[in-house]
């Protein structure tokens, strides 16, 4: 927790320095996962790239071993999955390995969003992950720059939709069943509020030619709950064997 204190303090100061958000919709607040039988944000799903494979493991959903939601894996990735030892996941040393932003956004945990003019911060409950999305027009760092589980994100408003592009993502599990994405994965996201402002929709679009063919995507939805807050996660590895 202490290791997060400094970056959070920095981000809080940066946000305080930002001007009013202006005409952009406000995503500020606490958001809890919305479990839906039928997607309420179908319009966002309809705007996904043609042919994108929609991965149906969001929220409480999970894919079993060998189920990759119809995504066509590259031969190296298939070999990787064949060699994967699921029992290793139960080891103490792997218990608290956080997933990357490719997987952690879909987890059934809430988040807080702090929105400024020049940046947006997403404080995720799952594994205490924190994302910073720069809206000030800065470029992405060079390819050789360090990668991280949250990557490097820039964003802009496209009308009422926040468009975020993320690079420099450290390899991590893609579907939590033995298949990992590479460090070259590119993530494009579209965040949009429902007309009443109480539901937040997100689509994530992934391209990673090193591990799978074509384009994959996920859809997520959250409900705004004023007055609630994210709990500390503080993963304890002693759960493992």
């Amino acid at each position: 927790m202490a290791r997060l204190a400094l970056p959070i303090a920095f981000v809080a100061l940066a946000l305080a320095a930002c001007d009013a958000v202006g005409a952009a919709p406000s995503l500020d607040g606490f958001w809890t996962v919305k479990f839906e039988r039928k997607p309420s944000g179908q319009a966002l799903i309809d705007s996904l790239p043609k042919g994108a494979v929609l991965i149906n493991d969001t929220g409480a959903g999970e894919l079993a071993a060998g189920d990759f939601a119809g995504l066509k894996l590259k031969p190296a990735a298939i070999e990787q999955v064949k060699k994967y030892d699921y029992s290793q996941e139960l080891k103490r040393e792997n218990t608290c390995v956080p997933p990357s932003v490719v997987f952690y956004m879909q987890a059934p945990f809430p988040m807080e969003i702090y929105q400024g003019r020049d940046l947006i911060v997403l404080k995720m409950e799952y594994f205490d992950m924190v994302r910073v999305v720069f809206l000030d027009g800065r470029p992405h760092p060079p390819e050789s720059a360090p990668h991280s589980k949250s990557g490097f994100s820039t964003g802009h408003w496209d009308g009422d939709t926040l468009v975020v592009e993320t690079s420099h993502i450290e390899p991590g599990t893609f579907m939590n069943n033995g298949f990992s994405h590479s460090k070259h994965i590119k993530l494009s996201e579209r965040f949009r509020l429902s007309p009443d402002g109480n539901t937040l929709w997100l689509t994530q679009v992934y391209e990673d030619p090193e591990t799978f063919e074509g384009v994959a995507a996920r859809y997520m939805a959250w409900t705004r709950k004023p007055g609630e807050f994210v709990f500390p996660y503080e993963c304890d590895p002693s759960y493992g064997n």
């Binding site: 929220g59 599990t173 069943n177 709990f231 304890d236 759960y239």
Partner: protein, 148 residues
């Protein structure tokens, strides 16, 4: 002099090997990244088992709470069950806490069995002798008790 030359040659060979290893690791080959375990991979989602026994230990920390339970199987043989909960963060919002279950408590636990056949499960529901219930992972997350 010869010894010094030999040492230099060894150093060069060694640095070359280190260079080759570094190149291999940096090539971008994707090894499977370790991950926090999946429910679907390790537990059977469409089957519920029931165990009645005595609590040995209860810990309530992320990523999963753990309930260690002593119970007897159908032949009367004592078994030690390792029962995990879903994340305590999720359960706190449903009324669970560190003190919800104590060593010595007699409980009935229903849950999703481990795929490997070991005495292990992910908890669905814990019931106490007085009828009190703690709900863990619901079979259908879209159905909230009392709101369906």
């Amino acid at each position: 002099m010869r010894t010094r030359k030999a040492a230099l040659a060894r150093e060069r060979t060694s640095s070359r090997l280190v260079g080759i290893a570094a190149a291999l690791f940096g090539f971008g080959f994707v090894a499977s990244a370790a991950a926090h375990h999946s429910f679907a991979v390790h537990f059977v989602a469409d089957k519920i088992v029931t165990v009645k026994g005595t609590v040995e230990e209860f810990t309530f920390r992320n990523p999963h709470g753990l309930l260690m339970l002593t119970a007897k199987d159908e032949k009367g043989v004592e078994q030690h069950w390792r029962i995990e909960t879903n994340s305590p963060n999720i359960l706190r919002r449903r009324g669970w806490s560190e003190d919800s279950i104590k060593p010595g408590d007699q409980v009935t636990v229903e849950g999703y069995p481990a795929r490997d056949g070991s005495p292990s499960m992910r908890v669905y529901r814990v019931t106490f002798p007085d009828g009190r219930e703690l709900v863990g992972q619901r079979p259908d997350p879209t159905v909230v008790p009392g709101q369906d």
